[in-house]
Symmetry: C2
Subunit: 231 residues, 2 copies
């Protein structure tokens, strides 16, 4: 993890959904108070228990956020893609992180100083509203996850995951090729399954004819058939 000077971050920041209707001078101000973090594969962004130095925004690459148990096992909570921000709740509450975050590949993250964010909230109602929407989205997604973990089976979670990926990667197509954006073990943990059971479930479902597995590519013939199997 190395720091570098904030060169040309304005242009990048301006494209992030959270900031994209902020006036130019605000963006410049943000860029001035943010640090650029370059992470290589497995590089740590933050650890459990650390206090939150600012808002993290993934510029490119992927970051996995996970809990770690005392026995060394870990549970992936989220896989952040480029454009996503993280740590709003901890920032606003001044609570230490419950989870740790690690880059899944070469990744670039901006860290925006806390005061700048608080400032924006106080001065710019539009920004506050956008932040509220972002947190609502996260809260909502977390509820969906929770529902899955507590009252759906492993297979159902796998199917829902594939369907969501399919509609994100190839919207409104009857057939789709879903490319798993992370190692299967990471996806498994994200779905709260052991790698072994995830593999078995995936192969079992493919034997039922729901899709074909080619490495990290899942070929789905009939998206609507998957949908039906969940109802």
């Amino acid at each position: 993890m190395r720091d570098s000077k904030p060169v040309h971050n304005e242009t990048h920041l301006g494209r992030i959904p959270l900031f994209d209707d902020l006036p130019g001078e605000e963006i410049q101000q943000l860029a001035k108070v943010s640090k650029t973090l370059v992470l290589e594969k497995c590089g740590t962004l933050f650890r459990t228990g650390e206090t939150c130095p600012g808002l993290h925004v993934v510029m490119y690459g992927q970051v996995k956020v996970a809990f770690s148990s005392t026995q060394g096992s870990e549970k992936v909570v989220d896989i952040l893609q480029a454009g996503q921000s993280f740590g709003e709740a901890e920032l606003l509450l001044d609570e230490p992180y419950r989870a740790h975050a690690q880059a899944l590949g070469d990744t670039l993250v901006l860290q925006i100083a806390k005061t700048a964010i608080l400032d924006l909230i106080a001065r710019n109602p539009g920004f506050a509203h956008k932040l509220l929407n972002g947190m609502s989205r996260r809260l909502h997604d977390l509820m969906v996850d929770l529902e899955g973990y507590t009252l759906h089976t492993g297979a159902a979670r796998v199917l829902t995951f594939l369907l969501r990926e399919a509609s994100a990667q190839e919207p409104c197509n009857e057939s789709a090729v879903v490319r798993l954006s992370a190692p299967k073990g990471v996806i498994a943990s994200r779905l709260n399954l052991s790698p072994e059971y995830f593999s078995r479930t995936l192969h079992h479902l493919s034997e039922q004819g729901y899709f074909a597995i080619h490495g990290r590519d899942i070929h789905i013939d009939s998206v609507s058939r998957l949908q039906l199997s969940l109802a």
Copy 2:
């Protein structure tokens, strides 16, 4: 579930944490656009799939929020106490509820019109900030729950629950009597356990000498001993 005219809601609203530093005229405005809902035991506040008519605030009583599976079983997500609000995320996103809500006893709930809340966010940065803090808190609590569900055992969840209740009901005491605020079955579901297993675990832990069970009262001799057993 009956509606009644908004009588004297101002005084009640002004005491809710979310609104307690709003000027009097704003409170009056809120009271004017809010509906009073009187629920008796098991009365439904909202159902899964309904769209959100406004922000719900529990004035007194208790409301359980739960997912229901197709097979009739349900999973309690949260038990709302007096003073708590619910539905911010769904309100802001215009998404239908993922869960349903039911009164656990005689309960009074205020329902504040969506437009009034949006207005306040736009006009009053302090309110927006407070709302952000509230949602951060909920997001954070959900992460804690998720951590418990995914990497702690049933017994550990029971102990953590009792400890949290103890410190809420009798802060900083070495011994405490925790009164379960809802039927054991509801608490069990909140901890993602079957009623049977919750009962067993509770009795098993009491046999280990962690506490004594007297109906809904749990007598804890040594709070610090429970804390130790979790580390």
